[in-house]
Each structure stands twice: as structure tokens, then as C-alpha cells.
Amino acid sequence: MKKNAAGRKVVLKAGGRARRFSVPTAADWPSVSSEMIHLIRPGTILAVQGDLGAGKTTFIQSLAAALGIKRFVPSPTFALMRAYKLPKAVNGIRRLVHVDAYRLKDESELQVLDLDEELVDGQTLLVLEWPERIAGWLGSRLKNVIHLNIN
């Protein structure tokens, strides 16, 4: 079934530059993750966009593994948010917060997530699925945002 998703195109946009990757199978995500590691810092908001079944969670699982996280990284759709401690700091990052805006009906519901509070510790990387649902919040923090689009 993984090969059915062949031809997946990934665009990574950071600091006004765009890079393109081809990710034919789920086993090819680690190459994107290892590239990503160099771009992320504490306070980075990694906005991962793509349709249902595009592979967003699978990519984030590969990124979490690259950051040394051993635990399962299940979908946060229902929980809205899950947090993970890194066993050892990577580029100063000690914590990964995985957020899913899929179930948010309205941007005002962001209050329950209190994302700004999650970022104040100066050691957190925020990975966000369905960023288009909270475009307003994201728009005011663009200088910290890295976009990853999966098609």
C-alpha cells in the first residue's frame, strides 16, 4: 500500500528559499528529516500541509526519530496536542510539541491549546498539522515558520 502513494512531491520553504524533494515511499522520509534537522531551532514552527492520507504523521514520526525520540508518535488529531521530551538537545531543541488543527472549527478555539505558552520555554519545536486552519495565528509569526507541503 505504501507504494500506492508513489509520486509524492514535497516542497520545503524556509527563509524565502524553496527546496523540492521526491518521496516515492514512506521509507524515503528520513532523507527529508535529516535535511530538516539543519533548519530547525527552538521556537521554530514547522507547518506541515497535505491532504488526509498524504503522509503528514509519517513524516513527523521520521522527524521525531531523527531527533532521538524513542516513543511512538501517534496522530494528535483527537488529543489536539502531544508533547515529547528529547533525550538529548538537538540545535538547542529539548522538546517537540505536535499539534493538529484538523478538529478546530474556529481560530478562537486556539485558546485551549495556548500555543504561545508552549513556545515560551525557548527550547521547544512546534510541529503543526493542518496549519491552514489557523492561518491568522501563523501569519503573525511568519519569521519562525518553515513550511512543508506534501502533494
Binding site: M1, S75, A79
Partner: protein, 368 residues
């Protein structure tokens, strides 16, 4: 004020005990008062007579009744307004108020801001009423939902293997005693309920469309389309459902390209998706039961309301696990509710596992 020492020495004043349960871990706000009567102090817990004195979940009450016509924008998810209104409706304030002996509250896992509303309310009530407090794991609460059923309690013998399936959870947990658990397997990505809801969305059934998918599946053939059974032959008891979304996406795209009429094949698609999810859940549960040799298997959580899952599991337990009983919660107690939290609180009290209101805190990443 109640000191930690006094809490440690706590014994119910009689063999009758009333527990105020509070649940706010994710979407639902719920309050319950559960009464347990034991024949004597040393009678087995499963022989308790249980009565729900009061039970209400916010989503089941019309909005105007909750807020008198004004609907606060964010309140539905922040729980504050709903919880205050539910506690008032439970009759625990004012003249002729209902009394309770212990407060049980969900402390995790869940959303930090949501959990904190329940925990802070419980701590305040504990401080003002002097009642002891007990923090409950939400997963343990779901397990206790099966215990709410009198005929299950009569046959309650350890170990019990739980399949906990909901929108946010898919876990196989072995319960060795009250408050003693072991996770045997869990989902590595999507929860079973999420797999239903998201494949339903891919089929244009809206979100969350799990129940609509099951309804449509009634008229379809479960073997009409070949869909993957992820991890079915993996030796672990873990699950993976995210690949099913991709498979359904590709299948739907090919069907549209092949100009097949999507409306007429929709029931077949739904039935095939449901079969793929149910097959994996049942096969893993049976495999875990063969290894862990439980006296009973219990299915709990929102997805346990699925009739096909109930039917296939019932048949599998009967044929493949002779002598093993199957438990399910009473209808209406599948999804998040405070009655199950109060019941799990009772389990913790019986093991003398009380908390102090000074120390109890929300634990969003709590495991079992």
C-alpha cells in the same frame, strides 16, 4: 483543611460511599455522583451495589439549558462554564444539597488546558468541603465503564484483557488487579475511531463520519474491495491505521478515473473499510488473549458501540477463546463520561490510593 496524613487514614464513614466524578480531559464535560454500598467493609469490591445518583454530560443537554440562551464562543472546549453549570445541576451547592464523600477527577492523559479545569474544580471542592480527592487515569476510567454493568461485576475476575478503542485511543491493556495494568499493544499512528472518521471524510461522509460510515456499510459487501490489514501478521500487539487512509484515497481516485458510479458502490466501500478495521482489532485482541490468558475480554471506548465490531468479537471470543467471557459497557457509557471516572475512583479508594488536593495536578502525558 485536610492534611495529607488525615487523607491517608481516610476510611469511608460507613460501607456506603458517594463519589463525585468529574471528567474534562478532551471534548466532553461530565459530572456524576455514584453511590456504592458494600455488605461490610471487607466484602469484595465487585459485590458492591452501584447506583448512579446523578449523571450528566454537557453535549447531551440542549445549549439553551446550559447557558440560558447565550452561547460563549470558546466555552465549549474550555469546559469552565459547562462544568460550573453541570456541578450546579448535580445539586451539590446550596440548601438541601446532595452530599458526597470523595471526589474523583480525570488527571490525564488529555489536553492540558482542558484537564486543568476539572482538576482545579476538584481541588477547590476538596478544599471547601473537606472531602478527599482521587486523581483518575482516563484510560482506567474507560475500563471501569464495563464495571458499571451489574452482570459484568458479578463475573469480574482477573486478569481481564481490555480492548480500548475510541477516537483518540487504541490500546490493549491487561488488568491484573484493581490499579494494576500492563499495556500489551497500542496504535503507532491513528486510533481506530480516527480511522473510521477520516476514511469517512475521504468518502465525502463529513467529519466525524465514523457512525455514518457504519450505517452506510449495512447495505454493502465487506469483501467488495481489497484493503490492507496493517500489522495483522506482525508479532507485536500494536496497531497501525494511517496506511488505510492512503489506500482508501488511492482506491477512490482510481474508481473515479474508472468512471464507476461512486454512489452505488459507496456501501461496498464503507463495508470494506469497516471490515479492514474490525478484522485487525479482533485478530490482535484474540492473539493477545491467547498469550495473556485472561478470564475475560472487555471492549470499551467510543468505537465499542460499533455493532459489527461487537458481533465479530463476540463470535471470535466464543470460538477461539473457550471459557472466556466478554464484557462491554452499558449502552450510553461508551464515550467519555464522569460515571466511569467515579467508578475508577472507587477502585483507587479500595486500594487506598488517595491523593492530596495540595499536590494533585493535571498530567497531560500520563500513561497507564
Amino acid at each position: 483543611m485536610v492534611s495529607p496524613v488525615k487523607i491517608f487514614d481516610f476510611r469511608p464513614p460507613t460501607t456506603k460511599i458517594r463519589i463525585l466524578g468529574i471528567e474534562t480531559s478532551c471534548d466532553e464535560t461530565s459530572v456524576a455522583i455514584l453511590e456504592s454500598v458494600r455488605a461490610h467493609g471487607h466484602a469484595p469490591l465487585c459485590e458492591s451495589k452501584i447506583r448512579l445518583v446523578h449523571h450528566e454530560t454537557a453535549t447531551q443537554i440542549p445549549i439553551h439549558a446550559r447557558f440560558g440562551g447565550v452561547v460563549p464562543e470558546v466555552a465549549a472546549r474550555t469546559h469552565v462554564a459547562e462544568l460550573v453549570s453541570l456541578l450546579e445541576r448535580a445539586g451539590i451547592f446550596g440548601k438541601g444539597k446532595r452530599k458526597f464523600d470523595v471526589i474523583a477527577v480525570t488527571k490525564g492523559p488529555g489536553l492540558a488546558t482542558a484537564l486543568r479545569v476539572g482538576v482545579e474544580a476538584a481541588r477547590t471542592l476538596a478544599w471547601s468541603s473537606g472531602a478527599p480527592i482521587v486523581g483518575v487515569n482516563h484510560l482506567e476510567g474507560h475500563m471501569a465503564s464495563a464495571w458499571l454493568m451489574p452482570q459484568n461485576r458479578r463475573r469480574w475476575e482477573f486478569p481481564i484483557l481490555f480492548l480500548l478503542v475510541s477516537g483518540g485511543h487504541t490500546e490493549l491493556v491487561l488488568m491484573r488487579d484493581y490499579c494494576s495494568y500492563k499495556i500489551l499493544g497500542r496504535t503507532r499512528d491513528d486510533a481506530a475511531g480516527e480511522a473510521f472518521d477520516k476514511t469517512a471524510k475521504l468518502l465525502g461522509l463529513g467529519y466525524p463520519g465514523g457512525p455514518a460510515l457504519s450505517k452506510t456499510a449495512e447495505k454493502g459487501r465487506p469483501d467488495a474491495f481489497k484493503l490492507p490489514r496493517p500489522m495483522l501478521h506482525d508479532k507485536s500487539f500494536d496497531f497501525s491505521f494511517s496506511g488505510l487512509k492512503t489506500a482508501v484515497r488511492v482506491l477512490v481516485a482510481n474508481l473515479v478515473r474508472g468512471t464507476k458510479n461512486e454512489v452505488t458502490i459507496l456501501p461496498d466501500l464503507c463495508a470494506s473499510i469497516q471490515a479492514a478495521i474490525v478484522d485487525v482489532l479482533v485478530a490482535k485482541t484474540v492473539a493477545a488473549a491467547i498469550e495473556s490468558k485472561p478470564k475475560a475480554v472487555a471492549i470499551v471506548g467510543g468505537v465499542s458501540a460499533n455493532r459489527v465490531l461487537q458481533a465479530v468479537l463476540t463470535k471470535a471470543v466464543k470460538t477461539e477463546l473457550p471459557g472466556v467471557t466478554l464484557f462491554a459497557p452499558p449502552s450510553g457509557f461508551y464515550t467519555d463520561n464522569a460515571a466511569m471516572i467515579a467508578a475508577a475512583g472507587l477502585w483507587r479508594i479500595s486500594q487506598n490510593r488517595l491523593d492530596s488536593w495540595q499536590k494533585l495536578d493535571a498530567e497531560p502525558e500520563l500513561d497507564i
